[in-house]
């Protein structure tokens, strides 16, 4: 028995994915890690193996400001999306007919047909000082409120990106919950709250966590919402990458930021998937 026995059939089917992942994910990732040790002289990148980029970036307060801001915004976005989506998903999964649910999922996918940038700019018009919301509020003698260039606007942008997706994922996982178990909970005296949080949520756990983690990943890496709606002060990590490459062609230092982002995302995603599929 050989440990390296090759199953030709399985390999044939897996090969396209392996090749794709190697060329477009693992290869660039290795290259990006390598770049973090390169040096920039006279605006040109030189191959080297120096720790200077890591030391410079990780010792700067602005890096950590951005790091924790990004982490906080992505977490807030994940919580907001999960909480806001849940009642809608619950209603679609349990109160709507199968036909309504199919149409709803379809309409939730439609926004993805348009460019995210366009959707973000439409919020610009709505949230601006003389935008739609303030115009309506002024009829009641309220406002104007500053909404653009605030974390609030960033979260609005993130919701544009994530919310439909989270609703779809939550709906699909909730709709798959065994109705018998819900009835069993009622039958054993569970009220609405206990049924939802003690039975339905644990049963739909996998889908709910996957929805949340996708929202986290999208928000964490997004630069459109924090840049155009949030005002990028302080910048999130993705904006910091842009700023760093622009100032003095510091690709190696941008790569340090990118590697830190990857490491964070991988650990968050790994923990989430572990929690999602954990079977006691």
């Amino acid at each position: 028995m050989s440990l390296f026995k090759v199953d030709g059939y399985a390999l044939t089917w897996r090969l396209p994915l392996l090749v794709w992942q190697s060329i477009f994910f693992i290869g660039p990732l290795v290259f990006m890690v390598a770049i973090t040790f390169f040096l920039v002289k006279n605006y040109r990148m030189r191959e080297a193996f120096e720790m200077i980029n890591w030391i410079k970036m990780l010792s700067r307060g602005y890096f950590w400001d951005s790091y924790f801001l990004t982490l906080w915004l992505a977490t807030l976005s994940t919580l907001t999306a999960t909480i806001v989506a849940f009642p809608a998903s619950y209603a679609l999964a349990f109160k709507a007919s199968a036909t309504v649910r199919r149409w709803a999922v379809f309409f939730l996918i439609i926004p993805f047909f348009t460019s995210y940038l366009v959707r973000t700019f439409s919020w610009y018009v709505i949230l601006a000082e003389h935008g739609a919301i303030n115009a309506v509020l002024s009829w009641f003698g309220l406002g104007p409120f500053t909404m653009l260039n605030t974390p609030f606007a960033t979260i609005i942008g993130y919701m544009t990106l994530c919310l439909p997706l989270v609703v779809v994922l939550q709906t699909l996982s909730l709709a798959n919950v065994d109705k018998n178990l819900i009835e069993a909970a009622w039958n054993l005296g569970a009220g609405w709250m206990r049924t939802v949080f003690g039975v339905i949520v644990p049963l739909a756990k996998t889908g709910l966590i996957i929805g949340a983690v996708i929202c986290f990943i999208l928000s964490y890496g997004d630069f459109v919402a924090p840049y155009y709606l949030g005002g990028s002060k302080p910048p999130t990590l993705s904006i910091l990458i842009i700023d760093t490459t622009k100032s003095g062609q510091q690709w190696p230092r941008a790569a340090v930021v990118a590697v830190m982002m990857m490491a964070t995302l991988i650990s968050v995603a790994f923990t989430a998937v572990y929690l999602a599929y954990r079977r006691k």
Partner: protein, 363 residues
């Protein structure tokens, strides 16, 4: 006399245009083991679900201990159910599953644990208390489901085909467990099943349903020997049903012209037959005598054997009369062996004058 524990009064249930339960009227007494039997889609599960509050009756009233249940939410009735697929919570351990009904009633953790363990012990699975559900066998899951339902000490336990997923061996064992449990606890069991053997083996009374209608409510014995109508007679499966016309009325008996010939039947004084009346008579397969020689008795017919079916110690025989009509006969194995009956080409079957049961004519 005190009212029965459970009362269904003119209960109707419609799902859209589908009539699931048509005017159900029956009473269940405290401590009774009631079976509800019928083929799938006959409305038996709907009756159970209405009792648990999982369906609301379209019309009529359901009462438990004199209290109207219709508007009471399922969570506020103490009518636990054992489900066909058991519906155990996969994310909870065995003990946590059993504790669930106590937790919803706000019972403290220590007390919950104590009572759950008592029930697991009673179901002989105390050692499995910390296991996860997916680690259990079918029979063990069954016991968890029972413990979970009974831990709140309900006045009535609802069982929805709980044994249908088990293999034959285990079914017999669980029947024993259920019957014993019901006797010990003295609470009402309402048991929905499509299996006649389960219903007849365990219950005090059975409700036979068809297409949403209650066809008969009686003891197993009565359903078997005195079916209320043709549906029940056929449903029981081991009955021969002969259609016929009364041709002569003698003192205390009538002669009926049937598909297989003239049959003489003893009738009671209450039966008021006239010549030319249409009658349906039921003859139980196990009450038919079989011999290799004509015996000269009144209701005797010649036949030939078509097939035999081994049902444990009983053999089910299918014979054909000279005019091509098929008759079911059941005989103990040893009796057939004794007379070598299945080796003979031509046979005679007969029954006593009082064997045929005449179906009520208004049915």
């Amino acid at each position: 006399m005190a009212e029965a524990q459970i009362v269904f009064e003119n209960v109707v249930k419609r799902f859209g245009s589908v009539l699931a339960v048509e005017r159900a009227n029956f009473k269940v007494h405290a401590g009774e083991f009631l079976g509800i039997m019928g083929s799938s889609g006959c409305g038996k599960t709907t009756i159970l679900r209405m009792l648990a509050g999982l369906e609301t009756p379209t019309e009529g009233e359901i009462r438990l201990n004199g209290m109207r249940l219709n508007e009471i939410k399922p969570a506020d009735r103490n009518t636990p159910m054992v489900w066909q697929n058991l519906a155990l919570f996969p994310f909870l351990s065995v003990r946590q599953n059993v504790e669930f009904g106590l937790k919803t009633r706000g019972i403290a953790s220590d007390e919950r644990k104590k009572r759950a363990m008592q029930w697991l012990d009673r179901m002989e699975i105390a050692e499995l208390s910390e296991r996860q559900i997916h680690q259990l066998s079918g029979g063990q899951k069954q016991r968890v489901a029972l413990a979970r339902a009974l831990v709140t000490e309900p006045p009535v336990l609802l069982l929805d085909e709980p044994l249908s997923a088990l293999d034959a061996n285990l079914v017999i064992r669980m029947q024993g467990v259920l019957t014993r449990l019901q006797k010990q606890l003295g609470i009402t069991f309402i048991y929905v099943t499509h299996s006649q053997s389960e219903a007849f083996a365990m219950t005090d009374r059975v409700i036979i349903m068809s297409k949403g209608r209650i066809e008969q409510i009686a003891t197993a014995q009565e359903v078997f020997r005195r079916p209320a109508n043709r549906f029940v007679a056929e449903f029981v499966g081991s009955n021969n049903i002969l259609d016929g016309r009364v041709t002569a009325i003698e003192d205390g008996s009538i002669v009926v012209d049937t598909n297989i010939g003239a049959v003489t039947v003893v009738v009671s004084q209450n039966d008021d037959f006239k010549v030319d009346d249409h009658v349906e008579m039921v003859i139980s397969a196990d009450k038919i005598e079989l011999s290799s020689q004509p015996t000269g008795s009144t209701n005797e017919f010649r036949c030939s054997l078509i097939s035999e079916e081994f049902i444990g110690s009983i053999i089910g025989l299918l014979v054909e009369t000279t005019n091509g009509f098929e008759i079911k006969i059941q005989k103990p194995h040893h009796e057939l062996e004794l007379h070598n009956l299945t080796e003979v080409g031509t046979l005679w079957f007969s029954w006593n004058l009082d064997t045929p049961y005449l179906l009520p004519r208004d049915a």
